[in-house]
């Protein structure tokens, strides 16, 4: 896992004129940001489009990045998050959405869903969560980020993120009852 110091060194070198330093940042985060975006959109072309936007925006705005306000990784994830939201607002300006899940099944007919099977398996499960809950779960369970890193991305404190994660697990169990794992196991088949 890249450290804040490594990222800060790259940024310092880039702003001093070493363009290759941004390449190092890209190498560190490209695939992570891709997965983060993909878990929101479940569409390869859209994910690639958004990831491209993310890194060009990061390049453009890196001068405004302030190390005192948080780690570079969180800053980059926030750009990615906002870019996903902007992309969907462009496509569906009347819909207040946080990510793909908010569109609903009938809204997704235009997109080719490559991971339809995977989506269906978790759809009812994850769709029951709020966008922030969904994000915390995916960042912790799928992206394996720490609570501190998640807090830097979604906002709030490490403690509040831990509580939110714990409550989300409790909510899932409450909604699906003791059979929640069985439901998921069934969906996996």
């Amino acid at each position: 896992m890249p450290t804040d110091t490594q990222d800060s060194d790259c940024i310092a070198r880039f702003t001093s004129g070493d363009a290759t330093a941004f390449g190092e940042l890209y190498d560190r985060y490209a695939e992570r940001i891709y997965r983060f975006v993909y878990y929101k959109v479940f569409n390869k072309e859209m994910a690639e489009d958004i990831v491209s936007d993310v890194f060009f925006k990061a390049l453009e705005k890196i001068g405004s990045y302030n190390t005192q306000k948080g780690p570079f990784s969180a800053w980059l994830y926030r750009i990615a998050r906002n870019t996903v939201i902007d992309k969907y607002r462009t496509k569906k300006p009347t819909v207040d959405i946080e990510d793909f899940f908010d569109l609903g099944e009938h809204e997704r007919t235009e997109e080719k869903i490559d991971a339809r099977d995977a989506l269906e398996k978790i759809s009812s499960y994850m769709a029951s969560l709020t966008p922030v809950q969904r994000e915390i779960v995916t960042l912790r369970v799928w992206e394996e980020l720490s609570y501190k890193e998640i807090a830097d991305i979604v906002g709030g404190t490490e403690g509040s993120v831990k509580m939110a994660f714990s409550r989300t697990i409790r909510d899932i169990r409450a909604k699906f009852g003791p059979f929640a794992p069985l439901v998921l196991a069934f969906l996996h088949q």
């Binding site: 363009a19 997965r35 690639e48 991971a115 978790i122 369970v141 394996e144 998921l184």
Partner: protein, 248 residues
């Protein structure tokens, strides 16, 4: 078993011990979440091509990248130095020069009276038959006639080395609150010495075109100080008159 299951279970237990009262449910739930993680097939061609594009743009965006190319370096410097140059030019145009102006040139200085508490001496364009020596300007407030030397500052600050062959000082205008004189002293070691020239008694208000003829031209390197004196009522400059202000 997924390696992260125990880690997440421990975390949940630390956050909310009651959550794991029915531990089996939670463990199974977390396991399902982990195993539900979608497979993401990342196109490595996309990653590599994007990297090239990003680095191409990065090479243009780096702050010092313009210095790698001469014409870009010039453009970079030009865009940054141009505003500084413009400000400097504006400064030199607007900043009034008070020394070594040609005789026919009017000094640009003007000081505006502020209320009733300020005396002003303004440079004046000397007639062509006079020798221009020096110009003076002040916006210093008039001081009480009982003011001490220290309150007015050290005369040595106002000393100037008089140019040779000077016979007249020309002042644009003098504005006084009380009748007085403009007196030119030779200054020696901070002390007001020989009087080289005295203006006529100047009335209250503004008098334009004040000429002070020197009794003798200052010697080369001799320091002179211009002092404003308030008349003591007899209409003549005497040692009894109280000096008001040392003009710069």
């Amino acid at each position: 078993m997924h390696p992260d299951i125990e880690k997440i279970i421990k975390e949940l237990h630390a956050i909310d011990p009651t959550l794991l009262e029915r531990g089996g449910d939670i463990r199974a739930l977390v396991t399902s979440l982990l195993e539900s993680k979608p497979e993401v097939a990342i196109d490595q061609n996309f990653i590599l091509n994007l990297r090239k594009s990003v680095l191409n743009r990065a090479s243009v965006h780096t702050p010092k990248s313009v210095q790698a190319h001469p014409s870009r370096a010039l453009l970079w410097w030009a865009t940054r130095l141009a505003p500084i140059g413009a400000v400097a030019l504006l400064f030199f145009i607007l900043y009034p020069t008070s020394h070594t102006l040609p005789p026919a040139q009017t000094l640009p200085l003007n000081t505006t009276p502020q209320g009733n508490t300020t005396n002003y001496v303004q440079p004046y364009q000397a007639p062509t038959n006079s020798t221009r020596m020096e110009t003076f300007r002040t916006s210093a407030p008039v001081h009480d006639s009982t003011a001490t030397d220290s309150a007015l500052g050290s005369p040595t600050m106002m000393q100037k080395s008089a140019p040779a062959n000077t016979s007249v000082i020309a002042l644009d205008s003098v504005t006084l609150l009380q009748p007085g004189f403009v007196v030119i002293h030779v200054t020696t070691q901070g002390n007001f010495g020989e009087v080289l020239g005295v203006s006529p008694l100047l009335p209250v208000g503004t008098t334009s075109g004040v000429f002070i003829s020197f009794t003798r031209p200052p010697a080369p390197g001799e320091s002179i100080t211009t002092v404003l004196y308030i008349d003591n009522g007899d209409g003549r400059y005497t040692n009894d008159d109280t000096y008001s202000i040392v003009l710069p």
